[in-house]
Amino acid sequence: MGRVLLKVIILGDSGVGKTSLMNQYVNKRFSNQYKATIGADFLTKEVMVDDRLLWDTAGQERFQSLGVAFYRGADCCVLVYDVNSAKSFETLDSWRDEFLIQASPHDPENFPFVVLGNKIDVEENKRQVTQKRAMTWCQSKGNIPYFETSAKEAINVEQAFQTVAKNALQQEAEEQLLDIPPMLDVNLTSNRPSLPSRYVDYPDPIQLDSENSQSYGCNC
């Protein structure tokens, strides 16, 4: 089995849990001692068929000028907000635009995003963004897959990143085709498989009472 190196960028406001999600997915750990990410950080995750490179960025937009170099070549972008903060949800638009401008993907209309509503482990009455509101937004942006997660309780993190990988893989395949020199174009059109529309797959149904909701607690 060959390897695909996928580059996944995680964006969102300060303190919504980007680093925690990344660490939960890669290291299966949660710590509430995370520090503010300065500039960018990254981890790699090796899965059966691929090697995922996760770039976690600082939530402060003045660090986004670093972004251009870090964003380039991204295969998927994960947008994270905190379900307990309306503001962090409202800025998703800007984060999405910011990414598309900085990464300038070939086909911005169809670039794969995944939205994660994090911190669902916090009690219900603190919640400020309903699932319906989030899903409506995601649909309006071209059916972006949406997951509600808890990095702390490891809820839906694995499932969310599986979708991230799947969409990123597809993106990578398309980028490959685009990378082929123009002289091959004639052959290309006949060989090109009919690619399925990217967002035919709706996200897995969200299960808030996932059996995975065991707590990993704090490891410090």
């Binding site: 303190g15 919504v16 503010a36």
Partner: protein, 798 residues
């Protein structure tokens, strides 16, 4: 043509009539019979040819005294050969010599190349000034080690043969085609490249300093199993159509095809398992064949590596290291390592191979550090007189040094004797006026640090940072401090208890915009800054006692204690009274709030800069040291920020820097070491940018690992990220000091040499690049141009 009859007959050969033709000679090659330099014996190393139907080549060393005995003509012959630029074997100008006997008292020897088993080649380093070659014979004997004193040797000091400016030992040995006589970096290399014309010399991959002479098949097998030749995978990919096919490796990460360069990389031995697994006709057409070739290559790795690794890891010395190994490597120690290693390699293909580089680099570092630690432990058990020696060995920096023959500076640091309260008190007169100069104080802080006992840091830090004036009486200081304290509260009152400030139109929140490249034109967003400060302070140094919140009892279910849970997330502080948009964050406490207040006040003090993530990391340790004194923390923080961003704050500059520098290694060292590091940096004793020398010292100590194993930017970044909490502070600071002093010395040396050359304008033309002047080589090596940025590193004191 000079012809001399042999008078002495070496015991090894009995052919009396044979004539020995001198084909190579090199002067000032020393044999060191004892550890004392006064006992060193200078001599000539020579290659001689025994003329016969099947000529025999011998390697010889003849002491100068022995040649002197034979008169000047004999000496001249050696000099003549040494100076000869060409090495045409069929040269008419044959020089024949006597060959000395192997006399134990003179250390002279001559041995046929065929009797040499191996050469142990040690290029010059800082610690051993002269490179050396040890000679092991097949019969197990070892001949005296030859030390190449190139600075005295004729062939290396001749004006027509300038020494290369850059030490190229890293690409050692150079390919024979590039060898002009004495074009090599040092004498041993010169000899070695010459030997290559007469014998098959193979560099061992097991021990890179070992060169085998005409190795046997078994030795070739054992010493050429290069498992991780850096370019092996690249070559395989480049040689196949794989590189241009639908590779799973994205185009931007695929290796550059090497085949585009007309010449093969002369430094690559092409002897790694991967290379050798390639058939000569490996121009594989279909990508599936290429894949097969690649996978076959990896299965070869599996076999060879397993064997090598198990050998290494089963060694008793490796035992303490095993727990530190990355899992895939550790699995080799197991009896069934065969299966595990195999699956590790085979399941992944190229990807695993690349990530293995990072593993290997880490592993190599751990081994090196383990070795360094035990070396230090050993050194500590020695009497104190040897400790000086120890500290001087801390600065082994060949790169800077190879460009100039300057002595190695020594570190002045003495962290085991920090400044204590008695000493500090001694530096002040009755009225609080200091009796020592501020430079002296800073020098001592740089050298020794401040004792952690008592509250000395609370007193010393404001002086180092310039919050308190040095040349003043206690009364004067107190007066100025009163003003500063007042000013702090004035600044704080601009927002504290004034909720409207966060709602004002000019400070209303704006969403992240795309003008991030032009930060300074962004509208101020105090509410947003407040949010960030709040969120960041809640996740900064939470293990420090001041910042620990009363632990919530996790075993009690949420439903039974909803109010407690809620109140933990609630804010009651002055900083953000309205908590609607904070989201779910870690609970806060009084000190976290106060810390946030300081940063928010700073936001009003330095309006152009605003809050930058990382500031909380810089401020928290000060808050802890000042024991929650808000005003002192604030003014110390102001001075620290002044040092970080300079007088005209341009956040863009700082942000481009690595996090190491950006937050002054805050996250790379344990908290207490951060305090020790920072007080050293704040002295600006040597350089205002001493932190860069610290960063360089860290990189320097990992140089080999990074250069040898890491290719991609990602890999290097990952490796550096993982250095966190593994760096030895005092060693690093000592290295940084040596690096700085070497740099300063280097700059001074360049300036001096430039000044000396100024009066003779004729030479300046020669030194200009590209001016060959009728093929006359330049008489001086062109001096490097030092940019203003480099010179600014020498600025000290603010």
């Amino acid at each position: 043509m000079v012809e001399i009859k042999r008078s002495d007959i070496p015991a090894s050969t009995s052919r009396d009539d044979d004539r020995y033709r001198l084909v190579y000679s090199k002067s000032k090659v020393y044999v060191n019979p004892t550890a004392y330099a006064r006992d060193n014996i200078p001599g000539f190393v020579a290659l001689v040819k025994l003329e016969a139907t099947n000529p025999i080549y011998l390697l010889a060393w003849i002491p100068e005294t022995l040649l002197n005995e034979k008169g000047t003509s004999e000496w001249d012959k050696f000099v003549k050969i040494e100076e000869k630029a060409t090495w045409d074997d069929e040269d008419d100008d044959v020089v024949l010599i006597d060959l000395p006997t192997q006399r134990p008292e003179s250390y002279a020897f001559s041995v046929p190349l065929t009797s040499i088993y191996s050469l142990l080649v040690q290029p010059p380093t800082l610690s051993s000034w002269y490179g050396s070659i040890g000679i092991n014979l097949i019969n197990g004997d070892t001949l005296p080690t030859l030390h190449f004193h190139d600075d005295e040797s004729r062939s290396f000091t001749l004006p027509t043969l300038p020494r290369p400016l850059v030490d190229n030992t890293s690409t050692y040995p150079p390919p024979p085609t590039h060898v002009a006589k004495s074009g090599n970096s040092w004498g041993g290399e010169d000899l070695l490249s010459r030997l290559r014309s007469y014998a098959h010399i193979m560099r061992s991959t097991l021990q890179p300093s070992l060169f085998l002479i005409d190795p046997s098949r078994a030795d070739i097998e054992a010493h050429s199993t290069q498992i991780f030749a850096d370019d092996a995978v690249d070559d395989i990919l480049a040689q196949s159509s794989f590189a241009n096919s639908h590779s799973p490796v994205p185009a931007h990460r695929r290796p550059r095809p090497i085949s585009t360069s007309p010449l093969p990389n002369p430094y690559s031995h092409r002897s790694s398992v991967l290379h050798r697994s390639l058939s000569p006709t490996s121009n594989i057409q279909s990508s599936s064949q290429a894949r097969m070739a690649l996978l076959q290559s990896f299965s070869n790795i599996t076999r060879a590596t397993r064997h090598a690794a198990q050998n290494i890891l089963s060694h008793p010395l490796a035992k303490p290291i095993v727990p530190h190994l990355p899992d895939p490597v550790r699995s080799l120690v197991n009896a069934n390592g065969e299966w595990e290693w195999g699956s590790w390699v085979e399941k992944g293909g190229v990807g695993e191979f690349e990530s293995a580089r990072v593993y290997l680099a880490r592993w190599a570092r751990i081994v090196a550090e383990e070795g360094e630690r035990s070396r230090r432990r050993e050194a500590q058990t020695l009497p104190s007189s040897s400790l000086e020696e120890e500290s001087s060995t801390l600065g082994i920096f060949e790169l800077l040094h190879s460009t100039s023959n300057l002595p190695t500076p020594k570190t002045s640091r003495d962290p085991s004797h920090p400044i204590d309260e008695q000493l500090w008190a001694k530096w002040f007169a009755e009225d609080g006026r200091p009796t020592v100069r501020i430079e002296e104080m800073k020098r001592e802080v740089f050298r020794r640090g401040v004792s952690t006992e008592g509250k000395l840091r609370q007193i010393v830090w404001p002086f180092i940072l310039g919050v308190y004036e040095w040349d003043a009486t206690r009364f004067e200081r107190e007066q100025k401090w009163d003003q500063k304290r007042k000013l702090y509260h004035e600044l704080k009152d601009q927002w504290c208890g004034v909720p409207e400030v966060f709602d004002r139109p000019d400070v209303i929140e704006v969403r992240p915009t795309f003008v991030s490249r032009f930060q300074h034109i962004l509208t101020k967003k105090v509410a947003q800054e407040r949010h960030r400060i709040d969120v960041d302070c809640r996740r900064t140094d939470r293990t420090q006692p001041l910042f620990v919140t009363p632990p919530t009892n996790a075993s009690i279910s949420k439903s039974t204690q909803p109010n407690d849970e809620k109140s933990n997330y609630q804010r009651y502080s002055t900083i953000s009274p309205n908590m609607s948009d904070i989201g779910a964050q870690s609970p806060t406490n009084e000190h976290i709030d106060r810390h946030a207040s300081i940063l928010l006040t700073y936001n009003f003090y330095e309006k152009d800069l605003g809050y930058v993530q990382g500031m909380s990391d810089l401020c928290a340790p000060i808050y802890v040291v000042m024991e929650a004194n808000e005003e002192l923390t604030f003014w110390c923080f102001v001075e620290v920020m002044h040092r970080m961003v300079g007088p005209s704050p341009l956040p863009e500059h700082g942000i481009k820097l690595n996090n190491w520098v950006l937050i002054a290694f805050k996250r790379e060292f344990p908290f207490n070491e951060v305090l020790r590091l920072w007080e050293v940096l704040w002295t600006d004793y040597y350089s205002n940018d001493f932190v860069l020398f610290v960063a360089l010292a860290v990189l320097e100590s990992h140089r080999d690992m990074i250069l040898r194993y890491l290719v991609e930017f990602d890999e290097i970044l990952k490796y550096c990220n993982e250095l966190s909490m593994t760096i030895e502070l005092d060693t690093t600071l000592a290295q940084a000091e040596v690096l700085f002093l070497s740099f300063a010395q280097f700059v001074a040396d360049v300036d001096r040499r430039k000044a000396e050359e100024l009066p003779t304008p004729s030479t300046s033309g020669i030194r200009r690049r590209g001016t060959s002047e009728g093929g006359t080589p330049p008489t001086t090596i062109s001096l490097p141009t030092l940019s203003e940025n480099l010179r600014e590193l020498l600025n000290a004191g603010r």
